[in-house]
């Protein structure tokens, strides 16, 4: 059990990092710890627990921005936004259930640090695209700010982008500002039934290239679809439309016309549509369970080839029009690392989201980098955290 540092404010965080630097201690940055299972299985001296840095500090619904302390629970932020008919448009994945914990956990700092983005990413962008500004403490124990509260600025290097998806290895976020957006008045989902993966990829590509403003495109191959819907059992390709009711209806009709040559069509109205996208967003088919869970990102039209190449025993679903594949594999030996990465053949990348520590200690969790890129990654890490105190080894061995 690692011991805990529990700062109450930014100054405390700075002091804690100062101390860690002086004592040569390594720190694991945690919010509620809902994503602690992600990353290489490394050991750190202490946890820097930011959950006391909590609370929304500024919310201007008219301005479409929200600032909060990094440890603010996502549940609190999402409830506040919902009360104002707004939301985080990047629809962050809730990893709680994936790791066998309850839903609704996680903090805003964790969501940004992991760059968690759900199905709407294909339309609205990733978490990092909604990340406007922050205050953080670097590995030099220096507090610094970047960005601000305007949606557009070109004042130098875009540090928000570098912080997003850095998994707590560059700096400790203490305050963040994000863009929020109006929540769609309603939604519907067009389902195409019974498509094989290749045909589904074509159908999703046709829908994405059309003018119907599709905000989600996912495909459940038959085995996974069967586990979701007792009676159906056929593969399901789902396309989501959001907006005001009249607009959703006419786009849905246009989409039905566009897709009818692909297969039989069904429509999910608002309630059922919301349910299905929650399933996709939170990877519900693969929650709990002991299997290894991979998250693979490839060019959308190649998704089905990559999935097929992984071979026997793999179960998968596609999001992002085929560009994101969630793959469950037996958690034995290397958790499927060798065949997953062979299937990608350097045309994308795979992250091992869930696996026993023994596997995460022995195979690369994040996609291995070519030497040039690895050297650059190391230099960026060193420019924020020269002594390597924040989660060394979490993303890459030795970095």
């Amino acid at each position: 059990m690692t011991s805990l540092l529990k700062p109450r404010d930014g100054k405390d965080v700075e002091a804690a990092v100062h101390w860690a630097l002086a004592e040569s201690k390594t720190l694991e940055i945690v919010g509620q710890g809902s994503k602690r299972g992600v990353g290489r299985a490394a050991q750190w001296d202490l946890s820097l627990d930011l959950s006391d840095l909590s609370g929304v500090t500024l919310y201007e619904p008219d301005e479409l921005i929200l600032s909060a302390k990094a440890g603010t629970p996502m549940a609190e932020i999402e409830a506040l936004l919902a009360a104002n008919n707004q939301e985080l448009a990047f629809e962050p994945v809730d990893y709680g259930p994936v790791f066998g914990a309850g839903p609704g956990r996680g903090t805003i700092g964790g969501v940004l640090g992991a760059n968690l983005s759900g199905p709407r990413r294909i339309k609205a962008g990733a978490a990092r695209d909604h990340f406007l500004g922050f205050t953080a403490v670097s590995g030099r124990a220096e507090t610094f700010k970047s960005g601000g509260r305007v949606v557009k600025n070109v004042t130098g290097y875009d540090l928000c982008k570098v912080m997003a998806g850095s998994w707590g290895t560059l700096a400790a976020l203490t305050d963040v500002t994000v863009k929020v957006l109006p929540r769609a008045e309603t939604e519907e989902t067009v389902l195409v039934l019974g498509l094989d993966d290749a045909t589904a990829a074509r159908a999703m590509s046709a829908a994405m290239g059309s003018s119907n403003d599709v905000s989600g495109a996912a495909h459940f191959p038959a085995p996974v679809a069967a586990s979701l819907q007792a009676e159906a059992g056929a593969a399901l390709t789902a396309l989501r439309l959001e907006g005001v009711a009249p607009s959703v209806v006419h786009r849905r009709r246009a989409l039905e016309v566009l897709l009818k040559s692909f297969g039989e069509i069904a429509v999910l109205e608002e309630g059922a549509s919301r349910d299905v996208w929650r399933v996709i967003r939170n990877v519900t088919p693969f929650t709990g369970g002991a299997r290894a869970l991979w998250r693979i990102s490839v060019a959308p039209t190649r998704g089905h080839e990559v999935a097929a190449a992984i071979g026997e025993g793999a179960e998968y679903v596609y999001d992002w029009a085929g560009g994101l594949i969630w793959v469950a594999l037996p958690a034995t030996e290397d958790g499927g690392a060798e065949r997953v990465r062979r299937a990608i053949a350097a045309n994308g990348h795979a992250t091992l989201i869930r696996a026993p520590a023994a596997i995460r200690a022995s195979v690369p969790v994040f996609e291995p980098q070519e030497p040039g890129l690895a050297a650059l990654t190391r230099r960026v890490k060193e420019s924020f955290d020269p002594k390597g105190i924040f989660g060394p080894g979490r993303m890459y061995a030795g970095i």
């Binding site: 008219d62 990733a126 601000g148 557009k152 540090l159 003018s211 786009r251 040039g372 890129l373 420019s383």
Partner: protein
């Protein structure tokens, strides 16, 4: 930074000569040292002094770029990448001399992946060239700065345009890059997958780095389907404030507007004169909606209601392509129309961005400032983003006019910063905005400098821009 400081930079004449010798052996007549060509490659668009490089090289491949960078670094001579030279803050000046790499000849579209909605281009491809190339396939690339800039330059400056509200800026549309680092090494920042972040987001570290971290040799950008229908139109308002409030209400209600641009009265007058139009001479919003036939009609109608509620209108709109193009041509010609107000003058562009709720206040105060100082400076704004430009008309050879304009620009930046805005929404830092970065980003500068030191330890990649070494 004062002009004198910009000029007084150390140079090593011997090293420069040696580097040029080595480059000449490699590049032959693709290395040019004539004074005229060198001066064309320094800043020419503002009052910032022209600081020409010592030589200009025209690479044709990434290997050429690697060779040129290696030679320059070996002799400790600066490297300045150059797209079309339309940047506005002295980005392409060579304060310490050095070698400019002009991407004119690296202008091939390398691949279009229509089904994945992306394409791969060399840095010298211009945005118009790319869109002509894509048109037959029903695709387009949305970012449209006022100039026909290169995709490399637009990536390096994180450029945006008139439809950022819907399609975002370069930061949202670049998927992957190939970059030659100061070491001469060529790296790919990401693979062509849509979600590019395996590890730190190095792609977006280079987007907006203004050539100070490395030289971009290949860019993968996101494409969009040409919308089935487009409606566009104009809507007059009794005041700038009413126009800004209509903008806020539109975005707040989730109407997916593609373009929403503000013209002040003077800008409308200028456009009427230049483009032979009869637009109502009051603050105007130019709007465009992209989608299906029914969708754009419905969105246009909803906007019309919002405008009417706020005292504006009538919103006259059309889906007729010719009429729409005539309107948008006027928007795109706004710069030339401004010059037409005072023939012979140059226009100096400001670029602040403020939170939407402060926009009306910021524009109105700025108009008052312009009037008080007897300047001629129309305003156009990408109001959906809180970003607006004044084009100050002046005689660049008249020190008194330049001084008045500079002082105005400083007051404008201070005003924007006081409203929690930023000194530059889209033009970038270059040389011109470095001093404001300190005021705006004090504590972030150390982090930026650390990155600069880590990636360019000898300060040879476009030195003297963004952060002092």
């Amino acid at each position: 930074m004062a002009m004198a400081e910009l000029a007084a930079q150390p140079r090593n004449e011997k090293a420069v000569k040696a580097a040029i010798g080595a480059l000449a052996a490699k590049f032959g007549n693709r290395l040019v040292t004539s004074q005229a060509v060198r001066e064309q490659h320094g800043n020419t668009l503002t009052w910032i002094e022209n600081q020409p490089p010592d030589a200009v090289v025209f690479p044709q491949t990434a290997e050429d770029v690697q060779d040129a960078v290696r030679i320059c670094v070996q002799h400790r001579v600066p490297v300045i990448p150059y797209g079309t030279g339309t940047s506005l803050e002295g980005h392409i000046n060579a304060p310490q001399g050095g070698v400019t790499l002009d991407f004119r000849d690296m202008n091939r579209v390398l691949a279009v992946h229509a089904e994945d909605l992306d394409c791969v281009v060399e840095p010298g491809v211009t945005r118009k060239q790319l869109n002509e190339y894509l048109r037959d396939q029903g695709l387009f690339f949305p970012i449209d700065p006022g100039a026909d800039a290169s995709i490399g330059g637009m990536t390096a400056t994180r450029a945006s345009g008139t439809n950022a509200v819907r399609y975002g800026t370069m930061k949202d549309n670049v998927l992957a890059l190939k970059v030659v680092l100061a070491s001469g090494e060529l790296i790919s920042t990401a693979r062509r997958a849509k979600k590019s972040s395996a590890g730190y987001d190095l792609t977006r570290l280079f987007v907006g780095s203004e050539g100070t971290l490395g030289v971009i040799t290949e860019i993968t950008v996101k494409l969009h389907g040409i919308p089935e229908a487009i409606s566009g139109g104009i809507c007059p308002f009794p005041s700038v404030e009413a126009a800004c409030n209509a903008t806020i209400a539109t975005i707040q209600s989730g109407i997916p507007v593609a373009r929403i641009e503000l013209f002040d009265e003077l800008q409308v007058k200028a456009c009427n004169a230049y483009s032979k139009l009869t637009l109502p001479e009051s603050p105007l919003l130019f709007l465009e909606f992209h989608g299906t036939e029914a969708g754009v009609a419905e969105q246009s109608a909803r906007f019309g209601e919002i405008a009417a509620d706020l005292g504006g209108g009538p919103f006259t709109w059309t889906t007729n392509t010719e009429e729409r193009n005539r309107l948008w041509q006027a928007r795109h010609d706004a710069y030339w129309a401004v010059i037409g107000l005072r023939p012979g003058a140059k226009a100096f562009a400001t670029d602040v961005c403020v939170p939407l709720s402060r926009l009306a206040e910021c524009v109105t105060e700025t108009q008052r400032d312009i009037a008080e100082h007897n300047m001629l400076a129309p305003i156009v704004g990408h109001v959906g983003d809180g970003n607006f430009h004044t084009s100050v008309l002046l005689d660049m050879n008249d020190p008194a006019e330049v001084a008045t304009a500079k002082a105005f620009s400083e007051r404008l930046v201070e005003r924007a910063l006081a409203m929690e805005g930023t000194c530059t929404g889209e033009h970038g830092v270059g040389q011109g905005k470095m001093k404001y970065l300190q005021a705006e980003h004090g504590e972030a500068l150390a982090a930026m400098r650390a990155i600069k030191h880590a990636l360019d330890p000898q300060d040879l990649m476009n030195p003297g821009k963004i952060v002092a070494f």
